[in-house]
């Protein structure tokens, strides 16, 4: 690395990063603190940062308060994974076509994809409901997977297309001259080179799928056993009281599998996001 910043600038940069991180991470920290407190503490005034009766009790109690909690966490990961796999199956050939082929309405259709992205799922809930009902998909996993895939394909195409465009065209021409078909070239040349890009896009899709499932779950699904975690968390809201500490514990536990995956993929993510920035 080049030493391009003065000491003072570095201090400034780090200060900015710290402020930003605090802003992002503070809610998680507070979630964690809340999950440790006994319930009575939560409403105590004045606010007490630390007390001796903090414990991990909520982390074991939550499984009893909401017996299906494990199932909900599984559902969340399952739905998000299924959405990711299906989305990628559609996105890879589509993004390749947008990156390399010429066809009518290419730019127009790309713009429409971007336009679709601007609608949140919420605007389309009622039409979607009717579509899913007439297809008989309500109250199944598909009710949460199909709309998820539909809303994530455009983002996926946009992200992956720009990545594929950076792969030198001459590599594909060389393969073509040697007699390789498009599909063979895609499989043996393009996709291996695009692996970091695929991971970046896959991760972005997974996060998107994880975040959007709540809306689809509460509208299109009544089956308790199929609910993902965000919807399942509602069960911590009882008739009498809300077990906030357990809810926070459950929410944090639910994020855990995703966090673990991220830690593993982190080096690809960083490589993927900067790939092509430097001429090699």
């Amino acid at each position: 690395m080049m030493d391009r910043y003065t000491k003072l600038q570095m201090v400034g940069i780090y200060a900015a990063v710290i402020v930003f991180l605090i802003f992002i991470l503070l809610p998680f920290f507070e979630m964690f603190m809340a999950s440790l407190r006994p319930l009575e503490h939560l409403f105590r005034s004045p606010y007490q940062f630390w007390s001796d009766d903090f414990s991990f009790q909520a982390y074991s109690d939550m499984w009893e308060t909401v017996p299906l909690l494990g199932r909900y966490i599984f559902n969340s990961v399952f739905i998000a994974s299924a959405v990711t796999v299906l989305t990628m199956i559609f996105v890879v050939p589509a993004a390749y076509a947008y990156a390399r082929l010429e066809f009518p309405f290419k730019n127009g259709s790309l713009a429409i994809f971007l336009g679709v992205n601007m609608f949140t799922g919420a605007v389309l809930l009622i039409p979607l409901y009717r579509v899913l009902r007439s297809m008989g998909l309500l109250n199944t996993y598909w009710a949460m997977i199909v709309p998820g895939v539909a809303f994530l394909i455009p983002t996926g195409i946009w992200l992956l297309r720009s990545y594929l465009e950076k792969i030198p065209r001459e590599l594909e021409e060389a393969a073509f001259v040697d007699g390789a078909s498009r599909m063979y070239t895609l499989r043996r040349v393009v996709l291996p080179l695009a692996t970091p890009g695929l991971i970046v896009v896959g991760t972005a899709v997974f996060i998107g799928a994880y975040a959007q499932q709540f809306l689809f779950a509460i509208t299109f699904n009544q089956q308790r056993e199929l609910q993902p975690l965000p919807a399942g968390l509602f069960e911590f809201i009882g008739y009498q009281d809300v077990t906030w500490n357990q809810m926070m514990a459950a929410a944090l536990t639910g994020i855990l599998p995703v966090m673990v995956i991220f830690l593993f993929l982190q080096k690809y993510l960083v490589a993927g996001l900067t790939a092509g920035a430097v001429k090699e």
Partner: protein
């Protein structure tokens, strides 16, 4: 191995016409170089031969067969790209194996071909490395290896050496010429470097603005350039061009008054010019000698290269003139110099840049 002919090829990208009516007949086992300035359409022409680009009109015939509509792999060609186009995630072995794997060739035969290519290109101990671990010259060899294993009828090269440094480029030039001899293949080679063209080619195609200016052996182009463009493109340092006026013509030659005042009778075909026409006289820097009578130039810059001394100067009216003199020539910067020129060594170009054929010129040796 095969002949290659291009018949009336034209190519337009939208409204831009890039190639104009190009017809060439390349012989079996010939090493032909396409040379010309940047943007003249060399790569486009090569890509049309390869089948990567479709000609707007005209046909490509390889080995007597019209392949204009065939995909590259059915044309019996292989191509080496300027950027090498190696697959960075595959080993050298797999890179060379790629075209054979596409063909689903049997393992034993494939291995034999790769080993042979590695032998020819001295890559035996590099087969397990990735392209990223190789030097530029080695990468170039891998790219060539990949094109050899398919036993193509015609090899196509698009500026394969332009990413290499000067010394390596010299070595690779020799290696490529040797390869051509070993493989006994027809090769078409694109470059914008006239030295590569002169040293490697059996015949050179000079392209300019999408047209063939001339197609001939290096010595033909040197001694009998058909146009001013070819004359100034071939030869290093470039040919000097001095504007002049025709004073009179007779069957043996043309009398010309050159800018700067010098007058000469040049033995060239005089049938197409008459007195008063504007012409240009082309004199190669290596065809002048220090003398007592002739062109008066003042030397601005002197480069002593050891074997030769190159002087850059001007003649009377400011036209630039470069001369290549013996290494020990008694010349000084800032001093006037008289150069004698043999009339037989001069070229004359008419107003449109076409040459007036020289009556006597050196025998062309191949």
């Amino acid at each position: 191995m095969a002949t290659l002919s291009l018949n009336a090829i034209t190519k337009s990208f939208g409204a831009a016409k890039v190639l104009h009516d190009i017809s060439l007949a390349i012989k079996d086992k010939e090493f032909v170089v396409f040379v010309g300035p940047s943007g003249c359409g060399k790569s486009t022409l090569l890509r049309i031969i390869a089948g990567l680009e479709e000609a707007t009109s005209g046909s490509v015939v390889i080995g007597g067969e019209d392949v204009s509509a065939a995909p590259p792999v059915e044309r019996g060609i292989s191509m080496v790209f300027q950027s090498y186009a190696l697959y960075p995630h595959l080993s050298v072995y797999e890179n060379i194996a790629f075209p054979l794997r596409v063909q689903k060739m049997g393992k034993a035969e494939m291995d034999a071909r790769i080993q042979r290519a590695a032998d020819i290109l001295q890559l035996k101990d590099k087969l397990q490395l990735k392209p990223g671990q190789l030097s530029g010259g080695q990468r170039q060899r891998v790219a060539i290896g990949r094109s050899i294993v398919r036993n193509p009828k015609v090899f196509l090269f698009d500026e394969p050496l332009s990413n290499l440094d000067a010394a390596l480029r010299g070595d690779m030039r020799v290696e490529l010429s040797q390869l051509h001899r070993n493989l006994d293949a027809t090769m078409v080679y694109v470059t914008h470097d006239q030295i590569e063209a002169m040293t490697m080619a059996d015949r050179i195609v000079v392209l300019n603005g999408g047209r063939v200016e001339q197609f001939g052996t290096p010595m033909e182009l040197y001694h009998h350039p058909k146009t001013k463009f070819v004359a100034s493109f071939i030869g290093q340092p470039n040919m000097n061009l001095i504007p002049g006026t025709v004073l009179g013509v007779d069957p043996t030659g043309v009398k010309i008054s050159m800018n700067g005042g010098h007058e000469m009778v040049l033995p060239v075909d005089s049938s197409t010019v008459s007195a008063g026409d504007k012409v240009e006289v082309g004199i190669r820097p290596e065809h002048v000698d220090i003398g007592t009578e002739g062109l008066e130039i003042s030397v601005n810059v002197l480069e002593r290269l050891g074997g030769v001394s190159i002087t850059y100067g001007t003649i009377g009216d400011g036209t630039r003139f470069c001369a290549s003199l013996p290494g020990d020539a008694a010349v000084k910067e800032g001093e006037p110099l008289t150069l004698s020129v043999a009339p037989e060594a001069c070229h004359v170009f008419d107003g449109s840049g076409d040459v007036l054929r020289r009556n006597s010129a050196p025998e062309i040796i191949d």
